[in-house]
Each structure stands twice: as structure tokens, then as C-alpha cells.
């Protein structure tokens, strides 16, 4: 393993302190437990440690961490599905940590929808801002937001 430029004590403290809460909430929308979300975020930070990336500004840094956290959460989700556990079902049937039908429904969405729904309705990002964070055209983000809302209506209606 080679180390990148993010290894000083100050940098680790700043990045973990600044982004942990936001990334944990985002990861949780993809996973069925807070411990899995914590694993995903730790893996993302570890990847930052070992990546030779450099960021042009804080927005770029945040975008990289958001995308990497989503990737790591998807990996954990796939590993769980490989163990024959349907996380969508688990999220809907169990999800004892949430106590919210709407949050469970967001967790049951495909990732491309849950990420924009969460970033918009919890973190308050605009479509344009989400486009930059996720590296997508704003029109695509708008479409995903609209389709995500429609999927949520269907999921909540079926319950």
C-alpha cells in the first residue's frame, strides 16, 4: 500500500471532523445498519489515505469523498447480497434503527435515486450543486430526482 498526500495529523483531523456526519448519513441511505454505514465511511477515508489524488478546492474534495463513500457503500451492499440477504427487503421489513417509513423507502430506492433524494431533501443541495458533487449533468440529476420521488410514492403506496 502506498500513501498519498493526506497523511498529516492535521489533515486527518480536519477531514474526518468535517465530513464524517454528512458521509455517514449518505452511506446509511444505501445500507441497512449504522455499523455498515460506519464501515463504508471508514473505507472511503482509508481510500483517500492511499490515493494519490489532489483536489483543486474544497468542493472537489467533498465531491470525491461523496462518490467514494457511495462506491464503498455499494460494495458492502453487494457483499451482503452475495450472502443471500436482500437489503431492500431487510430495509423495508426490519430497519429498527429508523422508525420512519419514508427513510426506509429511500433506503429501498436504487442508488442513483436515493443519493439525489437524500442530498436534496436532507443536505439541501440544489440540482446544480448535486450535478457538480456527483459529476453528472444537471438535467440528469433533475430526472433522477423526479423519478426518485415517483418511486417513493409507489413504494409508500404499496406498503
Amino acid at each position: 500500500m502506498d500513501l498519498g498526500p493526506f497523511t498529516s495529523d492535521e489533515t486527518i483531523s480536519r477531514i474526518v471532523g468535517e465530513y464524517s456526519d454528512m458521509l455517514l448519513r449518505l452511506a446509511y441511505t444505501r445500507l441497512s445498519s449504522v455499523s455498515d454505514a460506519e464501515d463504508a465511511v471508514q473505507e472511503a477515508f482509508l481510500q483517500l489515505l492511499t490515493s494519490r489524488v489532489s483536489f483543486r478546492d474544497a468542493g472537489h474534495e467533498k465531491a470525491w469523498l461523496i462518490r467514494t463513500t457511495l462506491h464503498r457503500a455499494s460494495d458492502i451492499r453487494r457483499r451482503a447480497e452475495g450472502r443471500n440477504v436482500s437489503l431492500e427487503e431487510a430495509a423495508l421489513a426490519a430497519a429498527p434503527e429508523t422508525g420512519s417509513e419514508l427513510l426506509q423507502a429511500v433506503q429501498a430506492l436504487p442508488e442513483k435515486y436515493s443519493a439525489v433524494i437524500h442530498l436534496h431533501y436532507y443536505e439541501g443541495y440544489s440540482i446544480k450543486e448535486m450535478g457538480k458533487l456527483l459529476g453528472l449533468p444537471a438535467a440528469t440529476v433533475g430526472t433522477r430526482l423526479a423519478r426518485g420521488r415517483e418511486r417513493l410514492r409507489q413504494i409508500l403506496k404499496e406498503e
Binding site: 500513501l3 489515505l49 489532489s54 429508523t98 431533501y121 433533475g142 430526472t143 415517483e150
Partner: protein, 378 residues
């Protein structure tokens, strides 16, 4: 939907109180372990690298004896400055060969520099030049018809192959044939900008890079799709990471306006536009909200868009012919808005579509696309 309830539920999630402290400790431990490991392995790694270099020299000597050298290729293309650069210590001699299908493709080598050739007009910009050789394993010459089937293009890890490639990097290719071997000199916008990433040179049968040909993994590494059956090779360029300029590279990629982040599961259905019976209003499904232009707002949009396109012509990224056609199209829409025969709308933040009422007996679809909305009337 009850978004306040959603936010409250997220706020109540029982994440570990010591998550940050635990994570910081884990990262620091990881760094310490890596430092200790690096010291122990340094000597061993040096020995292994020396052994690998000896092996590589043995293989490349075989290719070098058979093919023209990079400077010979540049010389035959009447590029003396480039020929000298290919002989300099800045040049990287590779001679890496891959046998694929009925062909052998060899990446001979590369060099980057400023004002090295007369083949392009950007003499004030640094370019990267790479020489590839293509030959048939059976030895017979390659026909022009065969050569047009193949593409040789740079790609960069972390950026989709359809956003960073020969075309978007404003590159050119020049060819000569010698003794049954086809040589291609690629003249590419400075690839060293991307040197902190993996930079590839891809050879394959087919046209511009697409999702059918290439995929990417979670780390941004590019690979050929498993079911891509044609001849193919993917070389990695040994560029100097210290010459990378990530900010300039990112700005360059963003300036293309192309989707550079890989989406493994792209939108499978386009936005659909449902029209009213009288053809005077459209509803964008499912949930897009078009903002309709008046003649006045469209005229303002057109003035801004014309300025943007004119700048592209000046930058050399848009032909005068395309500019004239775009302006003519916009003038036609503006005229239609003024006389009531056309409608135009903005969808999302950067998509504009327009249609003429005489066309609304047909199905209309809108798809988000580069620089706007692709509107299809069937």
C-alpha cells in the same frame, strides 16, 4: 411527502459517538504501519525492479530490431524537430507489443514537448506524440480499408472513455506504411496534465469509444468489455506524475461538456414529452418541468448562445459551418415563436428543445444530452 419526518429520522440514527475518534486513530495506525513496512521492503523492491528491467530489455530488443524507430517515423513524415525530440532523453522508448486477432500492435514510444511539429496549428501548446505500429501476423500488407476499421486513442483512468479520448483532446493522427507495417503518429493535446492518473493508449476495432467497448471499475480503471470480440490492446503510458496538473486537467475535461463520471447503470429511458390534443402544450414525463420561452426570452437565450458558439469557433472547437447552421436553426425557432408556429422550452438547467406545431402529430421525445436536450420527433 413528509420531508421533515425524514430529516428527523436521519437525525435520530444511532451512529457511534466515538466514530470520529475511532476513525482518526485507525487512520493514524494505518499510516504508521505503512511507514514501517515501506522501510523493510525498500531493499527487496529495488532488487526485484532490477530483475524486471533486465527481462524487459530482452523483449524490447526483438521489437526494436524489426520496426522503424520513432525518429525514423517522424523523419519519414518530414518532421525534423520531432525526430530530434524522439532521439532525446525526454523520449520514452517502449516497444511493447500485443498480438490480438490477426494482428500485432506495438506501442513504439512517446515524447511530450512544445512546438515540435508542423502537423498541428497549436504550436504554442505542449503536445504528446506517440508512435504505434500495426502489422498482420501473417505478414501481408494492411489495406486502407482494413486500417479505417481501427481506432488508436488515449484514455485516462477516472474519466469515461467517451469524455477523454482522441477526439475530445483535439488530437490528430498521421500515418505511413513501410515494409508491410503501418505506423501511426498520434499528436495529442498534452497528456502529461493527466500524469497523476493512469493514462492509456487503446487500440481496437471500432469507432469512437463507447459503453459497448469500454467499462470502468470502482477505482476508475478502464478495461475492455468482456464481450468485446474485436482485436484490441490497452497500453499504459509511463508518464512522469510530477508533471501532472490536476486542476488544468479537470478544467480541460469539464470544458468538453461531456459526462466524465462513469455511471455503471445509466438512465435507461429518456424523458418523454406528452403533447396536448391541440399541440399547444407539452408535459415532460416523469416530472421534468419545461420552462416555456416567449419570443423575447428566446431572443435573449439566442443572443447568449450565439456568443458562446462564436467563442467556440474562435477557439477552434466548432466549425464555421456548424455555427452557421445552429444560428440558422435558432433564427427559424425565433421566427416561429413570433408567428405562433413554434414552441421552445428549457428542460433542466441546460437543456433547450424546440418544435414546430406542424410536427406535433408525431411522437416527441427529449433526452438530456451534451449541451442541451436531444429532441426526437418520429
Amino acid at each position: 411527502m413528509k420531508w421533515e419526518e425524514y430529516r428527523n429520522a436521519v437525525d435520530r440514527l444511532p451512529f457511534s459517538a466515538d466514530f470520529q475518534a475511532r476513525t482518526q486513530e485507525a487512520l493514524r495506525t494505518c499510516i504508521q504501519e505503512e511507514k514501517e513496512y515501506t522501510m523493510k521492503s525498500h531493499i527487496l523492491r529495488k532488487v526485484l525492479l532490477t530483475a524486471a528491467a533486465v527481462t524487459l530489455l530482452t523483449v524490447t530488443a526483438l521489437a526494436a530490431a524489426r520496426l522503424l524507430t520513432m525518429d525514423q517515423v517522424a523523419g519519414l513524415l518530414e518532421q525534423p524537430l520531432l525526430a530530434e525530440a524522439f532521439k532525446s532523453e525526454d523520449a520514452v522508448l517502449l516497444d511493447e507489443s500485443v498480438e490480438t486477432g490477426d494482428y500485432r500492435v506495438t506501442l513504439v514510444g512517446l515524447v511530450s514537448g512544445l512546438g515540435l511539429d508542423s502537423l498541428n496549428e497549436d504550436l504554442d501548446e505542449t503536445h504528446t506524440y506517440a508512435v504505434l505500429a500495426l502489422e498482420k501476423l501473417a505478414g501481408e500488407p494492411l489495406s486502407d480499408e482494413t486500417l479505417t476499421q481501427f481506432t488508436m486513442t488515449p484514455l485516462v483512468s477516472g474519466y469515461t472513455p467517451w469524455s477523454v479520448n482522441l477526439w475530445s483532446l483535439n488530437s490528430a493522427a498521421h500515418s505511413i506504411d513501410q515494409d508491410g507495417v503501418h505506423y501511426r503518429l498520434l499528436d495529442i493535446q498534452d497528456l502529461e496534465l493527466f500524469a497523476d492518473r493512469t493514462v492509456y493508449l487503446a487500440f481496437y476495432e471500432g469507432g469512437s469509444p463507447s459503453r459497448e467497448i469500454f467499462g470502468m471499475d470502482d477505482q476508475g480503471n478502464i478495461h475492455f468489455q468482456e464481450d468485446f470480440a474485436g482485436p484490441k490492446a490497452l497500453f499504459t503510458l509511463p508518464l512522469d506524475p510530477s508533471k501532472a496538473d490536476p486542476a488544468a486537467a479537470q478544467a480541460l475535461v469539464e470544458s468538453t461538456g461531456l459526462a466524465y463520471v462513469y455511471d455503471p447503470d445509466p438512465e435507461d429511458t429518456p424523458l418523454t414529452v406528452r403533447k396536448s390534443a391541440d399541440g399547444t402544450s407539452l408535459e415532460v414525463l416523469p416530472g421534468g418541468e419545461p420552462v416555456w420561452f416567449t419570443a423575447e426570452t428566446y431572443a435573449a437565450y439566442m443572443a447568449e448562445e450565439t456568443g458562446r458558439l462564436r467563442q467556440q469557433v474562435q477557439d477552434g472547437t466548432l466549425s464555421q459551418e456548424s455555427f452557421d447552421k445552429s444560428v440558422a436553426d435558432m433564427e427559424a425557432v425565433l421566427a416561429g415563436l413570433r408567428d405562433g408556429t413554434a414552441q421552445a422550452a428549457q428542460v433542466g438547467e441546460n437543456g433547450v428543445g424546440a418544435f414546430f406545431k406542424s410536427e406535433t402529430d408525431h411522437d416527441v421525445t427529449m433526452t438530456p444530452a451534451k449541451d442541451g436536450v436531444e429532441m426526437v420527433i418520429q
